[in-house]
């Protein structure tokens, strides 16, 4: 088990998943560091792990949920702080930018969803993971994943259609 070769490459997917939960870049980066350190400390047991990425994401999500709880208990509101808007300012081609003008709107809808729905949208629609892997990350059944994803996608559709009707 080599750190740079086997563990470090997981950093960005862990970062995005953690960011979706805590909605704060600094906190999310701390979670990435803590997760990678934990994985490295457990490196001798990792040979037995079937899906290292799912294992790492489960670990990261648990750390993120703990941090989020602490943050909420401290009454620190991150609502006014930077919302993650990866589409603004970085990534994407010029053709994307045309469509992305209003996508702060999508960010806001997703971030307003309950954590489980947010995480599942992240893993399915952004990371492109199978239902099986998502179920493994969240330690729930595949049908639970589908039901939760269904709610999240339909909330998004509803908000999109509401917005459209406002402009008509």
């Amino acid at each position: 088990m080599d750190f740079k070769h086997d563990i470090l490459p997981l950093k960005n997917i862990i970062f995005r998943t953690a960011l979706r939960i805590v909605m704060n870049r600094e906190e999310a980066e701390d979670i990435v560091q803590d997760t990678l350190i934990k994985l490295w400390e457990k490196r001798n047991e990792l040979e037995k792990v079937e899906n290292l990425e799912a294992f790492a994401l489960t670990m990261a999500r648990n750390l993120a949920l703990d941090r989020k709880e602490k943050m909420d208990n401290q009454h620190v509101s991150f609502d006014d702080e930077e919302h993650d808007r990866p589409d603004e300012g970085q990534g994407g081609t010029d053709s994307h930018l045309m469509h992305l003008e209003t996508s702060g709107f999508i960010t806001d809808i997703i971030n307003a969803l309950p954590e489980k729905q947010r995480t599942i949208i992240q893993l399915r629609d952004i990371e492109g993971k199978s239902y099986k892997e998502i179920a493994s990350v969240l330690s729930i059944s595949e049908s639970d994943v589908k039901v939760t994803l269904f709610r999240a996608r339909n909330e998004l559709r509803e908000k999109i259609l509401q917005k459209k009707s406002l402009f008509l």
Partner: protein, 167 residues
């Protein structure tokens, strides 16, 4: 152009019956510039999904991460420190061994000379025993010490070599 296929995929998407591949087709479709009006409302959603894949940690993350990993590694350097110490101490060990051997053999020689003196004192009357014995004593000492030095040096080299092997 007929958009039935895309419309069907959209319905399946919201019913959560699309495959990962079909979801990728939707994202590719909406990344085009000329999405027809009745579908354009969904462009933001799928382009958001595409854009969010590019979210990354800052460039200097690896540096900070590796610093933390280095800090958690068990210190392998301990063994090196011991080795270095042995090498530094080697001349001292050698010198100490030479001195110890010289002292031991010197003392043994003195003891032997003492016996010899007694013999000579009893047998030879005409020759001054003190002059002779002190001459002999010196000769033996010089000879034995130079032998002792050679032996001690060899011994200490062997013992240092053995120590290195053990490490």
């Amino acid at each position: 152009m007929d958009y039935k296929y895309i419309e069907q995929l959209l319905e399946s998407y919201f019913a959560c019956t699309t495959t990962l591949q079909e979801e990728q087709i939707l994202r590719s479709f909406f990344s085009q510039e000329d999405v027809p009006g009745h579908l354009a409302q969904y462009a933001d959603l799928f382009n958001y999904e595409t854009g969010a894949q590019a979210e990354k940690l800052s460039e200097d993350f690896d540096e900070r991460m590796m610093a933390r990993i280095e800090a958690t590694k068990p210190s392998v350097t301990k063994a090196h420190i011991v080795k270095l110490t042995t090498h530094h101490m080697a001349p001292f060990f050698k010198a100490a061994a030479v001195v110890a051997m010289a002292l031991t053999i010197g003392r043994a020689a003195e003891h032997a000379i003492g016996e010899q003196e007694a013999e000579e004192n009893s047998n030879v009357v005409a020759v001054d025993p003190y002059i002779k014995s002190s001459d002999v004593r010196q000769t033996i000492r010089v000879k034995d010490v130079s032998q002792a030095e050679t032996k001690a040096t060899n011994d200490s080299i062997i013992s240092i070599a053995t120590k290195d092997e053990i490490q």
